[in-house]
Subunit: 491 residues, 2 copies
């Protein structure tokens, strides 16, 4: 949780550059959990210190989402190593000279393995082989075929990598590669959700500065006008406020949500009882796709709105705003597109263990909202949260009743469902923050302005964001018929 809080700053400073570090941490996690003692000793100290960096190699030209199709081959060698041959694309931090070595984690199929998702293994393929004494050895058979020209994150070297009989070392059990890779992926998905927040936040901070300085037009309400000037700072205009408040309410709610998610990681690993660990793991599994999908969609939207506040200047490179938009865009795509996150949520996470996780979440939200409903200040926020939670429960019920008969109903509902759950998740965080700020004010907190502002922003989230769940529920309830009815040639 602490690392998550710190990483947000690094991502706001430069997402593309922080990815060199983030991918290294993901590779460390996989080796820590699934690697042999020898592998840990050989690779981890230099990766943790930052002398060596890491990558993850999944995508190939013809497959990304559907890894069962992958063609990269691993041929067993007499010494227990493998010769890895194939082409990987979109490899972030794939080749560079920022570090002394690059430890590639590569998905491949061992000769004779099933040619589907069950035949995939995970390998360590270092750029430079490591000598027995730990020093850097000879260059391995992996090379950069090209650096991708992208829309954004230009600070990251996204590579096409050619593996030409490169020496690789199996991590963990053969044909359990996806399991090992998902250790990276789950951590990475929380990290990508954090990227959405980080871009939303830095774009917002810039837009706030501009909105306070740029004078254009007059406040609609006469007594809000600056009598000393010919125009007012644009922050007085309600439509500029709309964009700032939406970003602020999203950023602060999302920050609480992603930190809460990171807290579940910590609890799921370190809590004393199995019951606590299981409960935390349930919530974490359920919310990982929501944190990835909802936070990157809304972070992109916040960046777009922040750019909008600059008017024409937002479109000019010099001001830097358009870079936030271009950088934020990738987070909706990589580590599993947001559409895949939505399917993971509805198809896997929701029904897991008979719906145990989602039932626990509904109970949690229901209790928090119920306990605050009678309160004068918190009541409107709690009531709005209860309505959104009811929308989500109604949609969940609809899914249970209609997805069995026609799986396309689940597929059609997935995306709006993910957004609904994001709104309820952030709503829960806002109610908790409002409760905490109310209590702090009652206790005479020194930073009273901070707490009053939290209460106002919580109310804004209830007024302006929570109503969206109604429309999302109705979209879900209209099913998949008109969505799926057209033949492919009609498009």
């Amino acid at each position: 949780m602490l690392a998550t809080a710190v990483t947000e700053y690094l991502l706001s400073a430069n997402q593309a550059f922080e990815m060199y570090n983030g991918l290294t941490q993901g590779a460390i996690a996989s080796i820590l959990v699934k690697g042999s003692d020898e592998q840990k000793q050989t690779y981890l100290p230099n990766m943790v210190s930052g002398r060596w960096t890491g990558t993850m190699n999944l995508t190939e030209p013809h497959c990304g989402t559907d890894l069962g199709l992958l063609k990269t081959k691993a041929e067993p060698q007499p010494d227990g190593s493998y010769k890895i041959t194939g082409t990987k694309i979109f490899i972030s931090a794939g080749e560079h000279d920022l570090s002394e070595n690059i430890i590639h984690l590569v998905l491949a199929k061992i000769t004779g393995a099933p040619d589907n998702v069950k035949g995939i293994s995970l390998f360590i393929v270092p750029k430079f082989l490591v000598n027995p004494d730990g020093s850097i050895g000879e260059r391995n058979g992996v090379s950069c075929g090209s650096i991708e020209e992208k829309m954004g994150i230009h600070g990251n070297s996204t590579c096409l990598l050619n593996y030409d009989g490169a020496t690789g070392y199996l991590i963990g059990t053969a044909e359990k590669g996806l399991e090992a890779m998902f250790i990276m992926m789950n951590a990475a998905r929380l990290g990508v959700g954090l990227q959405g927040l980080a871009q939303g936040e830095i774009a917002y901070q810039n837009a706030v500065s501009y909105a306070k300085e740029r004078r254009q037009g007059r406040a609609l309400v006469p007594d809000q006008r600056d009598p000393e000037a010919k125009a007012d700072p644009i922050i007085v205009h309600p439509d500029v406020r709309r964009m700032l408040m939406e970003a602020k309410a999203f950023n602060e709610g999302a920050r609480a949500f992603v930190l809460w998610g990171a807290l579940q990681v910590d609890i799921s690993r370190k809590a004393q009882t199995e019951e606590e660990r299981e409960a935390a793991n349930d919530l974490l599994s359920l919310m990982t796709p929501v944190i990835k999908g909802y936070l990157t969609d809304k972070g992109f939207e916040a960046a777009v709105n922040a750019q909008q506040i600059y008017g024409g200047h937002g479109y000019i490179r010099e001001w830097g705003m358009e870079q936030f938009v271009r950088d934020a865009r990738i987070a909706q795509i990589y580590e599993g597109t947001n559409g895949i996150q939505a399917l993971d949520l509805v198809g896997r996470k929701l029904p897991a263990n008979g719906g145990r996780a989602v039932q626990a979440f509904f109970k949690l939200v229901g209790e928090e909202a119920g306990s605050a409903k009678g309160d004068e200040q918190l009541g409107p926020i709690a009531a709005a949260l209860e309505r959104t939670n009811n929308d989500l429960q109604t949609a969940t019920m609809w899914l249970m009743q209609n997805a069995m008969a026609n799986a396309n109903n689940a597929g059609a509902a997935a995306y709006p469902y993910m957004h609904m759950m994001g709104i309820v998740g952030l709503g829960l965080m806002w109610l908790r923050m409002a409760k905490a700020s109310k209590a702090a004010l009652a206790n005479g907190a020194e930073d009273a302005d901070f707490h009053r502002n939290k209460l106002i922003t919580a109310r804004f989230f209830a007024d302006k964001i929570m109503p969206e769940t109604n429309a999302l529920r109705r979209k879900i309830e209209s099913g998949s018929e008109s969505l799926m009815a057209l033949p492919a040639e009609a498009f």
Copy 2:
């Protein structure tokens, strides 16, 4: 209307390049309506033939939206011309050698004029002065200070122009410059709405091709799977369909809507009775900001979703999808930001003539929906349209009751109100198209598939887009309190 239909193709082919033409047409319109006979003879033939191009010069470094602040000066000369001095920025098609001359239309203040929006005049400032015989004369005192580095539309030379005592000729009446410029602006706003559609359409067409070819994963419903292959084309996946259908329903609805807008232009100019001309002009004035704002927001969204369908490939320049996103983005910003469009709608267009235009629109929608409600096939679409129209009417009533007491309520409502009206506008078009297709099928039309697909897409719009007005109405009804409550320093 015909020109609008043709221009969509040009904009889809290359928005940046078509702008050279579009700006010329805007300049022609201003000179035609407000120019002297001599000005028309001097400039129009070569502009219409395409030998000369045109520009519009409004923005200065410190002012865009708030033109009252502009500093460019026009000093009267003994021969009736003016010396124009100042700096203009973001001038699309501002300097290039694609044409033999460039006719700049420039807003400036004549010496001694009021230093506010009422002191602005409009001038013709040609790049090359025109000799009495119509031939190209000497270079005028206007030069390109720099070409802006932008997020997109790289094919257009967006310039900073320095006017250094350049010779200019007043168009129309002094201090009535904004009125003359708005002849350009209103046409341009419809044209920019069309840009949103054009980018949404071309991005959609590319995404359709990709979705039919790219194979990844299995159809959720087993009998939709291709038994000959290891994976299905991604167009079988409901979440890919969601993005394609949303774009298709938007594009076709928006195309009808913008053509309907262009038809109102024609009727408002050419209808035989004053009554018809007035009614068309009412609807056109009301809908111009909606066509500009809603179509560019949704066109951008369609481009983003089309890019999303490509997964990681969508982020790579080579595929071309990210360019549609970058190009589409500008249309939300220029010709008055979409926030300004929303304010124009709520602050000026709605109350004009005691709400005559909006009442006529409600009546139109109500009658069309009412007449189709009992129909088995059209009924669900008509009923959904009636609900959205009711939401819009309720929001309008709320505005009438709450905007007088606090103008910030109107400012806070403006943006969601503009989107609601866009949904109702497209909904009206979809009901009309559905009616026409139903009638065509009943009459044994040859292209029956086309009409059946229209009916399905109309139903999709009713199922998946129209429900959004409920949430938008509720956002409006929550007022401006939580939006405006924070002091500026709290951001």
